[in-house]
Structures are given as structure tokens and as C-alpha cells.
């Protein structure tokens, strides 16, 4: 995916049949895997709206599973995702669930890693293979996965945004977009920082060690898939 040029018109190369239901679904699975940050051993998919309705015929299920296995939307092995999951020892289950006032092509993906870590990721496929992540661990967020993204879970208190941005600045990382979300004042909060370059590991470690910081996740740009 480059800019808005000729190759967005002729392109992308993808496994059919649908940029929204197949390519976007693969990207959502891939993003959930990236957010978990380790090899998943179990995946549960809760499909909403058009994803639930027409998912089987569009291969949405196979695309989601393929993404969780680390396959991109142009990988010709995508239709064989069930077989690949069995070979990889990945347990999976698909459910239909009304996710409320969500985009018609929305899914909630719950992944468990071999190390016992777990994450719930909700996202939508919004057309042309583009995606948006709308919740991580039940906290509402919003990001596109176009950029390397830093996700925090922290205590809502003065100075958190400043401390995180100082660490990124010190590492020479430019913030492209940034949003802050919280459940309640003084409660659990989250920062979504979209960056122009990958944050160095030491910077991420320093951010994770900040007082009031509960968890830091780093998500690679989806263009890597």
C-alpha cells in the first residue's frame, strides 16, 4: 500500500473474493496477533453484522484465522487457514454476536498466547481492505494500523502523556497521531500513539517502567503484512 497513487487503483494484490470481507478480515486477524505480541495458541472470533451474515461465502472466517496465523491478505495459502491452524496447534472457534452500534463488518477477536497472556481486540473492515481497531481489552480506542502504534494501559493521572512523549522524543521518534481514552477520571486510561518510526526497545521498556503504567503494547504497522 503506497500513498493514494496509481497502485491503489491497480492493486492491491489480494486473495478474493472481497476487499472488505476477505482482505480486511485478514488484516484484522493480523493486527490482533500483532497486539497480542506473541504466538497465539487459541483464538475466538465473534462476528457481527455483515461479517456474520455473509462471512462463510466470503471466506471471512478463513481470512481472520489466516491473519491470526500471521498470513497477509495476498497470501495464497489463505483458503487453507483451517488446515494451517490445525497444523500449528491453534485452537479456534467462531461465534455470531451482536456487537451493538458497530460498523456492519466488525469482529471481536480474543487471543490467548502460549505464555498465558490474553487480549481482546475489536475492529472493523471499512472498505478497500482498510481497517480500524476500535477496542483493545474492552477499552474503546481508535487506530488504523497504518503506523507503528504504541498502546498503553495506565492510571489516569497528570503527567502521563508528557512522560510518554518525553521518552519517545528522547529516542528520536516522531508522533504522527495520538489519542487518549479513559473509563473514568482517575481510573483506567489508555494512550494510542501512532508513530512515524518504530520505537526502540529501550524506550518502550522505559515507558513500561513509568509509575502508574500498567501495560504497554507495541503494534507493527499493518503494511508489514
Amino acid at each position: 500500500m503506497s500513498g493514494s497513487g496509481i497502485f491503489t487503483i491497480i492493486g492491491p494484490v489480494m486473495v478474493g473474493p472481497s476487499s472488505s470481507h476477505t482482505a480486511g478480515a485478514a488484516r484484522l486477524g493480523w493486527a490482533a496477533r500483532a497486539i497480542l505480541g506473541t504466538e497465539p495458541v487459541a483464538a475466538a472470533f465473534y462476528l457481527h453484522g455483515s461479517f456474520a451474515e455473509t462471512g462463510r461465502g466470503h471466506g471471512t472466517d478463513r481470512a481472520l484465522l489466516a491473519g491470526v496465523l500471521g498470513l497477509g491478505p495476498a497470501d495464497s495459502r489463505l483458503p487453507a487457514a483451517y488446515r494451517l491452524a490445525e497444523a500449528a496447534g491453534l485452537k479456534y472457534a467462531f461465534y455470531t454476536q451482536d456487537l451493538g452500534d458497530a460498523h456492519p463488518n466488525t469482529v471481536k477477536i480474543v487471543l490467548r498466547g502460549g505464555d498465558g497472556s490474553q487480549v481482546g481486540v475489536t475492529g472493523s473492515s471499512i472498505g478497500g481492505g482498510e481497517i480500524v481497531i476500535t477496542a483493545v481489552d474492552d477499552l474503546a480506542v481508535e487506530f488504523s494500523c497504518h503506523y507503528p502504534t504504541l498502546l498503553t494501559l495506565h492510571q489516569d493521572q497528570p503527567g502521563m502523556v508528557a512522560r510518554v512523549s518525553v521518552e519517545l522524543a528522547a529516542a528520536g521518534v516522531n508522533i504522527a497521531f495520538m489519542r487518549v481514552f479513559r473509563r473514568a477520571r482517575g481510573g483506567e486510561a489508555s494512550m494510542v500513539v501512532e508513530m512515524d518510526e518504530d520505537a526502540p526497545e529501550q524506550a518502550v521498556a522505559r515507558i513500561a517502567a513509568l509509575p502508574g503504567m500498567r501495560r504497554v503494547r507495541v503494534v507493527k504497522a499493518v503494511s508489514a503484512c
Partner: protein
């Protein structure tokens, strides 16, 4: 820096620089992306290879889509193309190739969205056939894909390329317009003729609705790829003969945008109208749409 905000500006630029639309698009992309033209041509050649593989796979006719609705028709038409009794072998081969690629898409094979997955058969179906007729090599095909791309980009800027926003005129309609212009340049026509072909083609798809049975990219989408190929060939033939579009390209695109906005939502990929709402369409939906 090259800039153009409309088909008219693109054409003026092409005539001033004495370049084809495809060459101009390549130069523009190279400036925008700050990448050498050779690298962009190599990338487009990779896309061309994916298109060719999709045609070949589709023409074997072996795949069936998950729904069971699609597969095998491209091969049927290809095998009959030698004794085509109505429109001649060229038309039959373009239709067969367009069907083949659209079937590969429905069967979860690799394709190039051009401009979308649902309309991915038209550009390769037309261009491989026109190249064969005119003995053109892959280098010429790569440039023709840039022609198709720049036409698609003008449509995207002034209207839309999404069925959910503009109906099928924005998908198969846009693809036919792109293929018509590219076919003209591939056959040696002028930039003016290429733009006229795109305008004539788009006029022929105005109001085309997006009405997929059971919401799947199969019925009527796959056969609309064959029909889009026929539209593109006819539009290109008219333009190459010197026929102009009475309504200029940009105004046709604006009309397409307006028609798309006015179309009821039943006809914009919701699977609530047209073919999807027929008794047969509803029966397929009952049969195929099983939630998880």
C-alpha cells in the same frame, strides 16, 4: 511537478508533453512517490504477472467458490470462442478471460483489485485480448495498466470506486472505463481518443446498481465482468474510429457521482434490491447465509 485535477487537465498535459496517458501517469507516480520509473514499471509488471496467472487458473475451470454458485463458466466460453457465432472470437476471448479472473476471485484465488476485487476481471480480460490482437508485448501492457490506473484515479477523485457508495457503476462501470482507455492506447490511439473511450464507456454504465445475491461477489458480479469487457471493447472501437463523447469525460464522472449519491441504499451493496431481491436471489440467501 506534474499536476492535474481533471481529465481535461490530464489531456492538455499529455498533448503539451506529447506523451501517452500511460507514460504521463508513470511519470506523475514517479514524481509523487519519489521512486524511479523503472521500479514502478517493475512493480506493475509483477501485478501483470498476477493477472496473467489468474487468467490461466480461471480458464482451467477447476475451482468452485465456497457457495457453489461460481466456477467453470470462463472455460466454457473460452472453449466455444473458436466457433463464436455472434460477436467474433475477440469478444468471446475477452469475455472468457474476464469471467475467468472474476471466478478466481470468487474461489479465493489471488487477483489484482482493478479497481476493486468485484470488478477485477475487466481490465485483464480486455488488455490481454487487445495485446494478443495487436501483437503487443508486456512492456506495452504495463504502460496500458498505468493508463487504466490514471483513469481510475480521476474517477476516484471526482466520484467513487466503491459499490457501497456508488453502485456497480463505480466498480464494473469504472473498470470498463479504465479498460476502454487503456485498450485505445494499447491499440495505438491518441490520449484524446483514450479519454473519449472512457467517457463513452462510463455513459453506458450510468445507473448500474450493486445488487449481489446473498451479499456475495458472485451473482451478478462475475458475468458483469464479461459485460464490462464488451462495453470496454465497443467504447474503444468507437473512439478509435474517431467518435467523440458529446459529454466530456469529467462531466460524465460528475454525473456518475450524482447518480451514485441518488441511488437508493437497496442498490448499493446492501443485497436488498435488484437481483438479490428476486425470488431466486432470496432463496439463495436463505440457503447460503448461515451465521456462525
Amino acid at each position: 511537478m506534474l499536476t492535474f485535477a481533471s481529465g481535461a487537465e490530464l489531456l492538455a498535459l499529455a498533448e503539451r508533453e506529447n506523451l501517452s496517458l500511460g507514460t504521463l501517469a508513470l511519470r506523475w507516480e514517479s514524481e509523487q512517490e519519489r521512486k524511479p520509473e523503472a521500479e514502478l514499471k517493475a512493480r506493475m509488471a509483477e501485478y501483470l504477472a498476477v493477472m496473467r496467472a489468474a487468467v490461466e487458473r480461471g480458464l482451467t475451470g477447476k475451482d468452485r467458490s465456497p457457495s457453489g454458485l461460481a466456477g467453470g463458466r470462463g472455460r466454457l466460453v473460452w472453449e466455444a470462442s473458436g466457433k463464436a457465432r455472434v460477436g467474433g472470437a475477440t469478444l468471446a476471448r475477452a469475455a472468457a478471460r474476464a469471467l475467468a479472473v472474476a471466478e478466481v476471485n470468487a474461489c479465493m484465488g489471488r487477483i489484482v483489485a482493478a479497481p476493486t476485487a468485484g470488478s477485477c476481471g475487466i481490465v485483464p480480460g480486455v488488455l490481454f485480448t487487445v495485446a494478443e490482437e495487436n501483437h503487443k508485448d508486456d512492456e506495452a501492457l504495463v504502460l496500458a495498466l498505468f493508463t487504466a490506473g490514471v483513469i481510475g484515479q480521476l474517477i476516484a477523485r471526482r466520484a467513487t470506486l466503491a459499490g457501497a457508495a456508488g453502485g456497480c457503476q463505480a466498480e464494473c462501470g469504472a473498470a470498463a472505463g479504465m479498460a476502454a482507455a487503456a485498450a485505445v492506447e494499447l491499440a495505438g490511439g491518441s490520449p484524446g481518443q483514450a479519454l473519449a473511450a472512457a467517457a463513452i464507456s462510463l455513459k453506458g454504465s450510468l445507473g448500474l446498481v450493486c445488487d449481489p445475491v446473498a451479499g456475495l461477489v458472485e451473482v451478478p458480479c462475475i458475468k458483469r465482468n464479461a459485460l464490462g469487457a464488451a462495453n470496454a471493447l465497443t467504447s474503444a472501437e468507437l473512439a478509435l474510429a474517431g467518435v467523440e463523447s458529446a459529454v466530456p469525460f469529467d462531466e460524465v464522472v460528475d454525473a456518475m457521482a450524482e447518480v451514485g449519491r441518488s441511488l437508493p441504499r437497496e442498490f448499493k451493496e446492501t443485497a436488498l434490491g435488484g437481483c438479490a431481491a428476486t425470488p431466486t436471489g432470496r432463496a439463495w440467501k436463505e440457503k447460503l447465509c448461515r451465521p456462525f
